[in-house]
């Protein structure tokens, strides 16, 4: 069930439908870039509920540390998994056309007391932020990751600086 089966994944990235594959790709890329052992699976809270329950129940035993779940509409996936585990579960709400993603956002985040889902940005920044949040959690006990997070944060700064130069020349061109 993994892209390049990995021994002992630390992170389980689950999505509700294969149509979300392209969307969550940036999360996969970041996990890979940071050298995180991960697995990816399509599991649906509504279509494969037993599989979903089993996945969450066994995650701890399988030494998974963080579960990321991406889903749209009445996005129950993250909450469903959270109901079956005490591992941290990160939810990525996926916007569909009809309600601009408000349904996925509220379905993911409005969990009852005692069963949290750590919900991240609705929109294209969501998968990136789910991956970074995952690494921030893992980095609490891995100094190498902490250092790489610092470098990543620095690279964000550099990108802003480069953007600065591009904007200057863009505005020059537009107006002159």
């Amino acid at each position: 069930m993994k892209t390049k089966p990995k021994v002992h994944p630390e992170v389980g990235l689950v999505m509700g439908s294969d149509s979300d594959g392209t969307l969550v790709a940036p999360a996969v890329k970041i996990l890979r870039d940071f050298g995180i052992r991960y697995e990816v699976a399509v599991i649906s809270a509504h279509r494969t509920p037993r599989l979903a329950a089993r996945y969450a129940q066994q995650a701890n035993r399988r030494k998974i540390k963080v579960i990321i779940a991406a889903a749209g509409g009445a996005a129950h996936l993250a909450g469903f998994l959270a109901a079956h585990t005490t591992l941290p579960v990160i939810g990525i709400p996926i916007a569909s056309r009809a309600l601009n993603g408000l349904d996925a956002l509220l379905s993911t985040i409005q969990m009852p007391a005692g069963i949290p889902v750590a919900t991240v940005t609705l929109g294209s920044a969501g998968p990136v932020n789910a991956a970074i949040l995952t690494i921030q959690i893992l980095a609490l006990h891995r100094t190498d990751l902490a250092a790489r997070l610092q470098a990543y944060k620095h690279s964000l700064k550099e990108k802003v600086k480069k953007g600065n130069i591009q904007v200057q020349s863009l505005l020059e061109k537009i107006h002159e």
Copy 2:
């Protein structure tokens, strides 16, 4: 698990929290008035997921015909049950303060293709409508219920007519 244990309930009325008890009482009253065999249970999709799964999986075998589920917030209960059964599941979204019930409404209704939840009114009419919808379904094969539904519909008309008289005298009083 029933109020006055009934042999072979036809309807399972499930709520996510005991705090919803007063809210769903009107549904219970209507089911009772129509002589429907029902049971009531507090089952949480997030706190007692295994119980919830088992309840839905066994409902068919237990000859339950319709499941009604009331929940608020990221209201996954109805969808969770629908994932584990092919019986019709009716969802009652319960409004909480923070978002006026929009979260419960969207979490209940925005189910993925293939796993419907028959969602009813957000607000005080919700439990009543869940009960009536249930009876409409059961009445498809019970002519006595069909007749009683006609009578119920007639009583709604009578109430409007009485309301008419009350409004007339109210407005007389206000203005004179």
Copy 3:
């Protein structure tokens, strides 16, 4: 008024405008695949209210068991029909551009106490879910349908599993 006139339709699928035809096609396909006798009609609550009233009033006598109604904007069609019958009425809210379908969703679902509309998903899953909900209701007294629903539910699982494989290879390709 039927596509291939059928003797004694069990299901009446009504839409408010012919422009909704393509949208509700998936519902028609599912009803047909399950061997349900159905009829399709364009009836408008606002443009042909008498026809709409007559349709709902006669549905019971014509042995129709479930009415499905699809409409957008101030989507009164389902509620209008529900006002004239005691049969279960399923509402499909159709999104228009201006308000992302919020108008259709609220107009369909927020029915007063005593006149329920069983509302399903706003968006492309809506017609599918209306059809499946209809079959779930009919299956309460037809064991053949109940068996087919189980098979359908199983096919949803299979699709998720296939999606799993596709996502794996997609992510492999993207990143390598």
Copy 4:
């Protein structure tokens, strides 16, 4: 069906439930103050649909000129009446708790092309504005009403001026 039965009412003020009586009272007061012949009725689009249809169909013959309809939730009343008449229909959306009145507003105003509902303010100004809009329409052929509308508009100005003085002294008191 009238408060003080009037011969030949020009305006029919209809509400969906007697519980709206107090809310629409300001509209009744204004109609009375302007000497408009009106009648008040509780008619429900969903509970008494035939009565509603008949009311709208006969309104023209009964020399009614404007219909005002107040309703909440999936507020179909105004649209229902508009479907059965070519008289101008004014809609007052009534806010209920669950969705702050957004449901009533959208259900009343989002009518399909060809069947308008002249919708007025959601909130306490709604009944007042429905009455004034009615009188503006009637005043097109009654110069006495046009003059009274001018006087009414002038009185609004005077009230603002008085408010000015009150605010001044209020702010003096608060701060000194």
Copy 5:
């Protein structure tokens, strides 16, 4: 200021920006089809406020009977005109991209007590409904218009019937 200057226009159709021209064209077409004397003007509540005030103040003297105002964003145009006249003012909210038209809808309809704006559908049905509402008002004293409205209403029915046939053949084609 008129398309084909007309002597004594009965209806003033005002829009906030020339970019709304194509959008309101259906209203113009209907007014013309019904033989209504109308004029069209671009007047902005914010860019040409004095012109707007003068237009509304003089409308009555110029024998205009109904003002239609179309605007988007913080759509003040209809309310601005209503503030300066006692004629009925019909508001067409125009949707812009950022907020799906919710801004225009609320800015147009939420008028204070005493200054109504008769607001119509947000979306493509808006201009049509503004024109029909206008004609409904004018028809109160012109029996020829009343008869034409009946015919128009009949034509809406015919269109639904035709749509019926088209949908039938569409669904035949899709599925066979």
Copy 6:
């Protein structure tokens, strides 16, 4: 029209209704505390439009520098004034019950290109922020005000620090 008539007010604080008096009092208090010459007036865009137009047109000549306008519902007041002046106009949206203030917020801020309204917080912070923004603008050419703003900003910090101590003891009490 002023509370304690002041010679040459620099700031005109206008509200749409005397019922907003208590709400805007904090703005008055801040202006007074900073020694700003101000005047307060109730002026309605819809009920006293000529007064509103005149007020804005003469503001510049009267040496007013900033206009603050508070209004609710279809809150046109700030935009109306902005249409008649080139002075900076600050808008305070006032929440009413029906739509939680969303109507006032959008009506105030969504101004067309070229006629800005500087809109501040919806809610109790609004009047405070309108006053502070006003002083920030005036302080651009008055060093005494700039110094006082620094002191004010410092006082906000001090309040946070005090709050810190209060929270500590609160939490001690709650839990022990």
Copy 7:
């Protein structure tokens, strides 16, 4: 800055205003019950930005592992802290009256790519879920906490069961 100064807090619970003290108390209670070393502070992103920056920058050095931030309105606190650290930051959106908390929810969660805030439930479940999520993260390397989380999860189940009994007797009483 701590309630009962603790050596080496693992968790920093920060709130934007002392008025949030009562609201976040349940989070403090849970942290204490689980024996987590924590500190509580009132720090405002807008009123004490330097303190906020310093707090986040030094958190890592001070061996803090998780930061929880609660704020309302344009709730920047969690995002502000996240910008200055690579530790996981959990955001609790606090609802204010004007917009039902939608402002706090969106301001907290819609972070740009690379700077995640793990946002939890809007409403009373928020502080509880922030605390539990924190413990889930800490439990990844402390087996004692993992065991206690299991016990906590079990206690949630027990509460549902008790609720079940209460609801049964409640409904008995109501209806008999």
Copy 8:
């Protein structure tokens, strides 16, 4: 950091990402047309918070008078800068796809008491209005600018008049 480095900029136009460059171009054009000395910079509240803090802290010393900040999503930029300065800060909310800009609007405007952000239109009018508001503030002490603002306001009127002619001929063409 400026487009054509200018000595002593009066206005700092800051955006959160270089992808906003094209969007804010109209603001740059207006500032240039009015002869305002400005600088443009890409600074991110979340990616370059120290730079952002320093920029705001030094703005006053650098004789900047107004800061304009454009950002999307959890748009903290304007509020972040406002926290570090007592200069007037104007916020331009930038709409992203997921939530139609509601997140940016609320994150920018809902500032706490004492730290205002002068927020302008969400949508394409935003940058224009930010620039004009800036000039309105600067014009309080520069009579040349005040005169140019009058001319600009006049040009808006002229554009409306031209639009009038275009609409007339457009509607002629459409209908004839």
